[in-house]
Symmetry: C2
Subunit: 366 residues, 2 copies
């Protein structure tokens, strides 16, 4: 008799949310010269965080503190909330999975923008939940359509990300406040703010941990430059925190990352510097796009999505040709965003190469 | 209307499988002078792994390769299997949770030794599964009783660990082979071998990936000295690997740990040295126990469980008094093991302190 897989497991396909650049390099045998496709921060972690991680390496025989006490307390202080409003997890990827466990089971519906972060959908499917996808409008997540769909389908979870990935667009705080105010009864908003440090502080919705319907997801992977460390966190009402603590992997956090994140949080000067460099990089990408007769979509993130002006086949052809020429990049998955390519902010030399390669490719593919 | 928690989430208690030493230190305000309670390796990672992790720290802006290609291939080669038989996860803790998803849902029963690794039970409960616990016999997991219970309850999963934690005892390969041969129809054996590198290679059951009923769990947390890195792996039939890959967190692995584990695997001389030091440490603990008129249970791990010769209240009193005197240690949770305390192998100075403190405590508590 074979092992007794659940029916759910048997029904699930194998899903790869993202093919890593290493996989593509192995396929072609050629390493990329510019790595600007995974929305990583090429400027890296704070030098103070690097120093702390190097020191932590030789002490890596110890488990990390499973309470994440120091990091939780530092984040609480940083955001003006209580440590009971913070949960640390293995990146936003891991935390979306933990949070999904609170609400999702067969028969439950979740709503997401069509083309938004695919790992969310993977976690929902793995729990047997249904997903309804709502198209972007004018390259923005459509607040009105998301709300209408959540209402219509009596959803339990609504996924929303701001600033948006993969389009880079942004809703100002008044719009987000309206989204929260108009959430249908009982819906939990999974509010992914992976890129929020790149946006203007004045435009971000203030944190309000009194509302148990809003779970904010943040990370050290983007502006803090520590994607490899796998440290994300939630900010939420203490009832949500308590539920997350029931089902999180209490020994999932690596010690080097935990210590590095604490040091990174303590170096806000570095963060501000990175955000400035990133803003300059966006301007450079806007300029490269317009010089080539292309329209860049204004971004509040560390990448710029560039409208290739034709269909998805054309955009994919351009992307493939760029990748072949040593520049790792990706593109939006779903219509209408898939007429675009997504260009990560790189160092000057990365963007020099992108500019050169883009020019070549546009001439080649016509 | 409140958020729509699932009934399962509402029913779950908050469970802390292990209170970390940092938590205890915060409670008392005094740091431990010896940390020999979490079965960590005080000898640390290979110097080559430390060097690799330090180098990786400054590159931590990159996500780890989500395929874990290099590490999977190195482990496959090390064990003489295919990379399709290996899955990397966030320690055995994380992998037990991933593997549980394959089989466990409400209505499904899992069997475990009573007092064995509590994180297994946590993962099962979080999926709504039932657990049946089978007492140890003569300080060993009882193969006969585990099999009988799995048969009686039509179980889907049987958890078995060898060498055992928390007792340190060991079943030779013939006994384990019999367990596998007599597994009831359809039962998946979760075979936790966290401590296997400390045992004699000749006594370990050879790897046989042709049997889809056996999932072996291994880790870099114990003999490899990298508990903080959170890198474990499964060895199993490719059908099991394929199912695990459906539901694992593909971006759960930290880059420093991934790179460090590869370097650690490549330094088998260090591993052998650590195992020798560990064996010497066990002898030292046996000696300390007998000098104090106590019986140590022979161990194949990096800890020794010492029979305090009375009941659990006495053992707990002794443990608390030892902890108060600056030595972090733990004890088995469940009867009959909870008449014992568990002493991790430490460096000479750690065991010197333990010896001194134990003598004091035995005089005090009488």
């Amino acid at each position: 008799m074979p092992v007794k897989f659940t029916d759910l497991i048997k029904s699930l396909p194998v899903t790869i949310p993202f093919v890593g650049p290493e996989t593509l390099e192995r396929r072609t045998g050629a390493p990329y010269q510019a790595r600007i496709g995974a929305n990583e921060s090429v400027f890296g972690p704070s030098p103070k965080a690097i120093k702390a991680m190097k020191q932590a390496a030789s002490e890596n025989w110890k488990y990390a503190d499973p309470e994440n006490y120091d990091l939780c307390h530092a984040l609480a202080s940083h955001h003006g909330v209580s440590p009971d409003n913070i949960v640390i997890g293995e990146g936003i990827d891991g935390l979306l999975g933990v949070a999904a466990k609170l609400f999702v089971e067969p028969g439950v519906t979740s709503i997401m923008p069509d083309g938004a972060y695919p790992t969310f959908a993977l976690h929902i499917s793995n729990l047997g939940g249904a997903i309804s996808r709502v198209p972007y409008v004018d390259d923005h997540e459509s607040i009105d359509d998301l709300l209408a769909q959540a209402r219509k389908l009596d959803a339990s979870v609504l996924y929303f990300t701001n600033p948006d990935n993969p389009m880079g667009t942004f809703w100002k705080k008044e719009a987000v406040a309206r989204l929260i105010k108009e959430l249908p009864d009982g819906v939990a908003l999974f509010f992914d703010e992976a890129y929020c440090e790149f946006a203007s502080k004045d435009e971000l919705l203030p944190i309000d941990i009194s509302n148990p319907h809003v779970i904010r997801f943040r990370t050290f992977s983007k502006a803090y430059g520590m994607a490899g460390a796998r440290i994300g966190y939630t900010i939420a009402h203490e009832d949500i925190t308590a539920a997350l603590n029931k089902v999180r992997n209490q020994y999932g956090i690596n010690r080097v990352g935990q210590i590095g994140a604490l040091a990174a949080l303590g170096d806000q000067d570095w963060l501000n510097q990175v955000c400035q460099w990133t803003a300059e990089g966006r301007e450079r990408i806007y300029h490269i796009a317009s010089s080539n007769g292309l329209k860049a979509i204004p971004s509040m993130t560390n990448f710029v999505t560039v409208d290739m002006g034709r269909d998805q086949v054309y955009a994919k052809t351009v992307l493939d040709e760029i990748n072949k020429r040593g520049v790792f990049m990706r593109m939006p998955f779903a219509a209408p965003g898939n007429r675009c390519i997504r260009v990560g902010v790189g160092k000057s030399e990365d963007l020099d190469l992108f500019e050169k390669v883009l020019g070549e490719v546009l001439k080649t593919v016509g």
